[in-house]
Subunit: 358 residues, 2 copies
Amino acid sequence: MQRRGGGAGGREGPGERTIVTLEDVARAAGVHYSTVSRALDPDTARQVNVVTRKRVAAVAKRMGYQKDMVASGLKRGRTHTVAVVVGDLGNPNIGPLLRGISNRLEAAGLMPLIVETQNDPARLERIVNHLLSRRVDAFILTAARLGDGPKLRRIRRHGIPVVLAVQSVPGIRLPAITNDDILGGALAAQHLLALGHRRVAQLRGPPDIYSCLQRAQGFSQTIAAAGATEVVLRSTAPMGTAEEGHHLMRQLLDSKRPLPTGIFAHHDLMAFGALSAAEERGLACPRDFSMVGYNDLPNVERMVPPLTSIRLPREELGGLAAEVMVKMLSSADRPPASRKLAPTLVVRRSTGPPRESR
Amino acid sequence: MQRRGGGAGGREGPGERTIVTLEDVARAAGVHYSTVSRALDPDTARQVNVVTRKRVAAVAKRMGYQKDMVASGLKRGRTHTVAVVVGDLGNPNIGPLLRGISNRLEAAGLMPLIVETQNDPARLERIVNHLLSRRVDAFILTAARLGDGPKLRRIRRHGIPVVLAVQSVPGIRLPAITNDDILGGALAAQHLLALGHRRVAQLRGPPDIYSCLQRAQGFSQTIAAAGATEVVLRSTAPMGTAEEGHHLMRQLLDSKRPLPTGIFAHHDLMAFGALSAAEERGLACPRDFSMVGYNDLPNVERMVPPLTSIRLPREELGGLAAEVMVKMLSSADRPPASRKLAPTLVVRRSTGPPRESR
DNA sequence: TCCGTCGCTGCAAACGATTGCGGTAGACCC
DNA sequence: GGGTCTACCGCAATCGTTTGCAGCGACGGA
């Protein structure tokens, strides 16, 4: 039947794509193809005599045999593929995360199948079904939102291992590898407090992102514990963008009370949006107020002002999520525990002592 | 045999992963499973009576049937998967490109399998073999370097459609969707010339990246045609980094001749590295010289100074590459022609008239 | 010598979907 | 009424690999 002729693409040359199968190798080596299968699989290789094994291996190599992972997947029910669902491929945070995941999975003989939901719940639904139909072995979900609980439960009901990365959802019993965003918020607060700020503001990210709630919690707790006063601006947008930061900062500037001296934005982009809103009113950072961002975007040190921000261990987080996934796939024990990774504060020039104290 | 028990991951609940097959649906609908197959495939659905077809569809839906793409792939020799090979997932240019590819492929029922070579030729070799073993339908390669010719030919020899994106290799007969980097270089040159610059410099990117050669060519030609003088600094690093820009700028500053008034860097990061090298000598941009970058990295407008740069249509390019791929897969005609996409110049504050003319 | 064991290999049935071919029943024509 | 045609559906082989089972020598012990 179809010999998988290359069709398009190959022009000059013999080009016709011919697949070397176990049977071809077997014929050439003078054994049954089941023997070839055994000889080539490290797990079963010791079942076959060492001299035939070597001969088979040599013939296979000479003929350029490559196991057909599709057929193998069908037979074994394992495709050695892990679906990695991300919200937005354009997000600069996502690259290092994916690299961490890829590297760790590759070491375990797995391959990530990366798909983007574009933060559209309907797409997520479709995509998950598609991936199930492709028989992926597991899911790594990196963009869960608070409302996704039911969806996550539905995926889990398929009996496929799932781990959450970066974003978690409270109340759901799935292993989650996340940043310690409470700590992140606390670090921002401590930094501002240590500089002497007593009136601070917080520009919150999307309310359905759990890590933003955590950032808020860590920040507010620390501020409150120090007896300082805080004003909170809540975003309603689905993403922490510069526009949203601009918008919230405008609200802050338009309010009657005096401008807080220290501001914590849930995202670097929001921070920059806020900075431009302030500049429009003739205010400068860090002269008139300090600003702490979150995420430590690439090249943020080259911006003006160089932004003090919270740095997250992205690649490490990805690697760890993959690590957990690999464990789940290899042993059927109870799922491993969740982990939180500590972020760090990177101090740059957008923060300083409050004006009053100078 | 194995019923694909979920093993790890599913705890509470029935969890056991059971696959609904054609046969299950057939039994429930009272027909042969081949009929179910035909009824559910739009291409063959008209072969089955409309009432049975509807009944089968209803039963399939009720039972939650999902075609097993693995089995289908084995039988049809088409996995509906396209390998997308990128050099560096951390590169901020890559996100939009991938989104463009993903969206277009998805519309055609294909799925990208994204892998990263980390710019390591040995890895590329391994990865390609692995992907062939997974029976991907095609390749989109986004990080080809000049020395990759033989490797590309080897891939093509497998008879699988290949398109190059972003990076091309001269002399190889593969469809390539690239930026018009000659034009990009020319735009940079025209901009500097129009501002009145007559002594310019060029900080070149890696010599084995074709698009850098093109940028160089477009720039130098335009400069020469205007009778202006140019000095060229050549990088030997494999990537256009800030460090490399810093290094080249140092060379320029250390040379005996007067500093050129206009500088073109082959990458925004190189431009920033160069700017910091200049600042170390007390020189400021655009006061003492103008700087044009390339790639228009995200947030580059927030940097200091906001960088004049060449913007590339990344997402569009990705979509076009996928488009070409889809065409190649659907019709066995001769491969479609290559395409070049025009970049645009984005003028910001890092360029201005030369000092002498003020 | 005979039986049990062990090491190696072949046999054949899966995995789930696709598809050429043939069969059956009804419609239709002559 | 017989023949032909069409529409529909079932049969079974097939994609390439995996794997339980059985066969078959050789060998050792009784």
